[in-house]
């Protein structure tokens, strides 16, 4: 029952992929990311000439075009960081829970972080960036524990669908609570509403800076747990037989993912489905070895979020479409596809 929930489709010829091919893929993906970064700085709801773009990259703020471009630079940076964090967190969560449906959004972790932040803002008047981040991380951690506890009740432990259902239910429940907390506070309702959709617009370097150490620690922990996730993928008994301390391995990797989700949610709001899509697509490229999957998920997540953000800016011209809306619109069909691929026995 547990082994059947491995997120690894057995038919994938994992051994057939040489490290050189994987390195080339990674290089290619990084090139795509670089190209997207360039695209993100040069396109937006306002057309800006090349001369102005060049001037803005040099720090110029002389006209409205240059000012617009100089706003796009931190936005691009934030999209890359948040995308990498969410992609990585999704991959780690899928490994820790051995659940192909795991995702910071679906498991309710992002919503838990955002509920904590909303309560902190509305009731405890927290205002500093540090306080936001810590509150979000605590909220994310508590929610992750809660969802895992509910999802693993009963026979069969935390099967993918039970866990996903527990996460989604918690997410719906927390969304109602967020509404109830926010509504009485007209002064903050507007700001929280737009934050709640999830977006990277309006980013500044000042807002990104405090979140960097948290993201860095989270990414290091996540990337270092690749080998442990590989053992966990074999099943708890096998992993223990290989000398892995299963609970510890899970806890450490989950902690890394929670840091990433909490910090990202604190600054961007809850962005859903990215952590689900990215690891699945990356698995198609590199197979299930977490030592490769994790870096791929980070780069892939950054690329995908950036792409979604650029798309949101182009589609809704002259306005902008928040990236959270784009990822939900694209990610939900993907989620349905993964659900339908699950074996009937588990349903």
């Amino acid at each position: 029952m547990i082994a059947s929930s491995l997120p690894v489709p057995a038919r994938q010829p994992i051994a057939g992929r040489s490290n050189r091919v994987r390195s080339l893929w990674l290089l290619g993906l990084a090139t795509v990311l670089a190209g997207l970064c360039a695209l993100s700085v040069t396109t937006g709801s306002r057309d800006v000439g090349w001369a102005d773009i060049a001037a803005a990259l040099g720090g110029g703020q002389d006209n409205i075009g240059q000012a617009a471009v100089s706003l796009r630079i931190p936005r691009t940076l934030l999209a890359v960081l948040a995308g990498a964090a969410l992609g990585l967190a999704g991959a780690v969560m899928q490994g820790v829970t051995r659940n192909p449906l795991a995702d910071p959004g679906i498991l309710g972790v992002n919503m838990g972080a955002s509920l904590a932040v909303v309560i902190g803002v509305a009731w405890f008047n927290i205002a500093s960036a540090q306080a936001y981040i810590w509150t979000a991380i605590i909220g994310a951690g508590c929610t992750a524990g809660f969802v895992y506890a509910i999802g693993s009740l009963g026979r069969g432990g935390a099967t993918p669908l039970k866990l996903a259902l527990a996460g989604v239910a918690t997410s719906i429940a927390f969304a109602s609570l967020v509404m109830a907390v926010v509504l009485p506070r007209n002064d903050i309702a507007g700001g929280i509403r737009s934050w709640q959709i999830g977006g990277v617009g309006g980013a500044t370097f000042d807002r990104i800076l405090p979140v960097l150490p948290f993201l860095a620690v989270g990414m290091v922990i996540a990337l270092l747990s690749a080998r442990r996730l590989n053992s966990l993928a074999l099943g708890d008994e096998m992993a223990a037989g290989l000398g892995e301390r299963v609970a510890l391995a899970r806890g450490v990797a989950a902690f890394g993912a929670i840091l990433l989700c909490g910090a990202t949610t604190a600054i961007c709001g809850p962005i859903g489905f990215l952590g689900l899509i990215v690891p699945h697509l990356c698995r198609l490229l590199v197979g299930a070895d977490y030592r490769w999957l994790l870096p791929f998920s980070a780069v892939g997540g950054a690329s995908l979020l950036l792409l979604a953000d650029i798309a949101g800016r182009i589609i809704a011209r002259p306005a902008e479409l928040d990236v959270g809306i784009v990822t939900a619109f694209v990610g939900a069909p993907f989620f349905i596809w993964v659900v339908m691929r699950q074996r009937i026995r588990e349903l």
């Binding site: 509910i150 039970k162 989604v168 109602s176 509404m179 306005a319 809306i325 939900a328 619109f329 339908m340």
Partner: protein, 342 residues
């Protein structure tokens, strides 16, 4: 007493209990309706309320009762009846309490279509309802086609529905963010459901839908109840399974979508009414009418609480959302504990 007589006697007792309990629910709905009419920001004596209802012009009461409280209360009852009926119909048909239209995306479909009709096409009234019903039907067919397995709703259908619902909610969020004159109140209506700004004229399409689709649903009540036993058993007992199912889907979607087009998707009413009604009347008879009454009760009481009993004025959907959310989690905990496949 022979065994046969015992069965007849217990049947009779059950039937009587069912009637009594249903009557109590009706009485409760009427009592809260009367309360909301006479007690708002200020108290209006019952005799004055009655005179306003009879069409007299009463100084100091006509506006508060006739213009503010009456439309609100009437809409609350009609929407509650529709949500309660539609919710329990889906729950019975798919044999799963989680398969209520507000969780598997049908409400979101109706809501997205209604928002599209109102904001993008600038439509009003019945045209919006038609859009909402079509949106709800399309989503119902989509979810059903994607996950249909022998009639019952496994976790697969629930999760597919949740995915569809997430997608449609992003559409609603997009349209609302594009609307030039969007304000918090209108936004709240389409996110959680609200009765603010209710007008008596809005009750007309609701009433029509309730008569038409509610009648169709009650007409199918026996077949629907037998579907609980499984498709094969129901077919063996003479139910035309396919036809019943199609009629129930059309009727339930019609109800929920018409109500959603007016009040927005009031959170969790469709999901909560059936299980609460089942707790009250047990398995003594059809759940359709008790569940409809419970729905009306929930919306009336939730709206009243949201207006007057809490420190801030909340739209009804927020109140019912906060009430319904723990129950949703409880339901999942219970299902996981007992090992049943939800």
């Amino acid at each position: 007493m022979t065994a046969f007589q015992a069965i007849v006697a217990s049947r009779r007792r059950h039937g009587r209990n069912y009637a009594v309990l249903t009557a109590i629910l009706v009485a409760l709905v009427i009592a809260i309706f009367a309360l909301t009419l006479s007690l708002g920001q200020s108290f209006t004596p019952p005799d004055e309320v009655l005179r306003v209802l009879l069409g007299e012009e009463v100084k100091g009461a006509s506006f508060a009762v006739g213009q503010l409280r009456l439309p609100r209360a009437v809409l609350a009852i009609l929407a509650g009846l529709s949500f309660g009926l539609a919710g329990v119909a889906f729950q019975i048909m798919l044999r799963n309490p989680l398969a209520s239209p507000d969780i598997i995306g049908i409400s979101s479909g109706a809501s997205a279509a209604a928002v599209f009709a109102i904001v993008v096409l600038s439509l009003k009234g019945v045209a919006v309802s038609i859009f909402a019903v079509s949106g709800g039907l399309v989503v119902a067919l989509l979810v059903y086609a994607l996950s249909f397995r022998n009639g019952a709703a496994g976790t697969r259908l629930i999760l597919v529905g949740i995915g569809v619902s997430a997608m449609l909610e992003s559409v609603v969020a997009y349209i609302l963010s594009q609307a030039a004159d969007w304000n918090l109140q209108e936004t709240m209506r389409w996110l959680t459901g609200s009765l603010n700004g209710a007008q008596l004229g809005q009750a007309v399409p609701l009433l029509a839908a309730l008569v038409l689709f509610g009648g169709l649903l009650l007409n199918q009540a026996r077949g629907l109840d037998l579907l609980r036993l499984g498709d094969d058993t129901a077919a063996a007992l003479g139910v035309r399974v396919g036809r019943t199912r199609i009629a129930v889907i059309i009727a339930a979607v019609g109800l929920i979508a018409t109500a959603t087009a007016v009040t927005g998707p009031i959170a969790f009413i469709a999901f909560l009414s059936g299980p609460i009604a089942a707790r009250i009347v047990g398995s003594r008879g059809s759940l359709l009418i008790p569940s409809a009454l419970v729905g009306a009760l929930l919306v009336l009481a939730g709206d009243y609480a949201g207006q007057f009993l809490l420190p801030t004025r909340y739209p009804v959907g927020v109140v019912t959302g906060v009430l319904g959310a723990p129950y949703l989690i409880y339901l999942i905990v219970r299902a996981n504990r007992s090992g049943s496949s939800l």
